[in-house]
């Protein structure tokens, strides 16, 4: 069996770091029945919340191409043991083999659509019960938690994916920042929005922006949906100097307090990525 290695230089929650992971995915997906190593030993800074993307890519490649992913960490990257990525890549779920004594991670966890009770417990305990958010107003936390449940609901209903949803977070106590990334391997934003808008929305970036605009909403004849999660997450970021990073297909949109930045990724992501950066905590 051949082994292939891809070295990346950035693993940050922005269009560059996620673009690097997309390049890795594109490179690995040209093979089958082999292993590919993601080498992050030369990255100066890592956002371990992006473990959810690495694991999502690993799941997809393993299932569709029989490719096994390894990660070469280098020094000072113990966080990937503590958040469970290494356990997951070995085929085990996060078995707490490595204790997160620093309490800086929100464990990498996967959820199937019927895992709603487990997901709610995870949000309550691991995410919004995290020490990094202990100073955040309770009502704001409850609002945010509800919005993340709406997101989960809509992924299960609409992503049209046989894959689970992947979640992971990272707290940076020195910077008073917490980053959380949620990934699904579904159809993404554009397909259905393009159809709904009769072709008016015809690219990934516009679809993401359309989905976060307050006047646009889900429409479902059966009264089944109606989630407002993304819009409310955007509102939270506007009100609290946070930022929301959304990626779907080749589109990458970073919603900041007073502006929205748009980028094209070099490779199309087969699903959706939603990252939030909560500051001043």
């Amino acid at each position: 069996m051949n082994e292939y290695i891809v070295k990346i230089l950035s693993l940050e929650t922005n269009q560059i770091g996620i673009g690097e992971l997309m390049n890795f995915y594109a490179y690995a997906s040209q093979f089958s029945y082999t292993s590919v190593t993601l080498n992050i030993s030369n990255t100066n800074h890592v956002d371990a919340n992006l473990s959810s993307i690495i694991l999502a890519i690993s799941h997809k490649l393993q299932k569709e191409k029989k490719i096994r992913i390894f990660v070469e960490l280098g020094e000072g990257k113990g966080v990937f043991f503590r958040n469970g990525l290494i356990s997951h890549l070995k085929g085990r779920s996060n078995d707490n083999e490595y204790l997160d004594l620093q309490e800086s991670t929100i464990a990498l966890t996967t959820f199937n659509p019927n895992d709603d009770e487990l997901y709610c417990k995870y949000l309550r305990k691991d995410f919004f019960g995290h020490r990094g958010l202990e100073n955040l107003n309770t009502q704001i936390k409850n609002n945010l938690r509800t919005n993340y449940i709406e997101v989960f609901n809509n992924v299960g209903l609409h992503a049209e994916s046989a894959y689970p949803m992947f979640c992971c977070g990272q707290y940076f106590p020195e910077k008073h920042i917490l980053k959380f990334t949620l990934v699904d391997l579904g159809v993404g934003f554009l397909k259905k929005i393009h159809k709904y808008t009769n072709g008016k929305i015809d690219n990934d970036k516009s679809a993401i922006i359309w989905a976060t605009e307050s006047l646009n909403t889900t429409k479902d004849i059966s009264f089944g949906t109606g989630g407002t999660g993304l819009k409310e997450l955007k509102k939270f970021c506007n009100d609290n100097n946070g930022s929301l990073h959304i990626c779907s297909g080749k589109g990458y949109v970073n919603v900041l307090k007073d502006r929205t930045l748009e980028y094209n990724l070099p490779i199309s992501f087969p699903g959706s990525i939603v990252s939030i950066i909560i500051r001043n905590i």
Binding site: D116, N143, T146, I149, N153, L157, I193, Y196, D220, G226
Partner: protein
Amino acid sequence: MKLTEIIGSATAISPIKGQIAYDYVANLLSNASYITISFDGISDCTSAFCNSFVGKLYMNFDPQLVDSLITFEDLDFDGIWNKKITNARLLGTNENVRLNRCLNIENLILY
């Protein structure tokens, strides 16, 4: 009646569970029975659940009848669930919203 007993869960999240609650209450409404639905014990509640449950009640029954026979109690103190129920009622009773919804058969992926 406790919602947890109707849906068999402490999480009122999926529209499927909303449909279970709808079926239960719709049956009672058809008999013009007074119903009090308690959210006691519910840990989380979503728009999708409320739309599937409450919105459909207001869509399929006379809103005045629903208002006169159904009471919701023990809602969360933050007011979030009450807002979701109010929105679901609005959707169910608003002809324009209902018409607009019916124009689109396909679900949309919107978080």
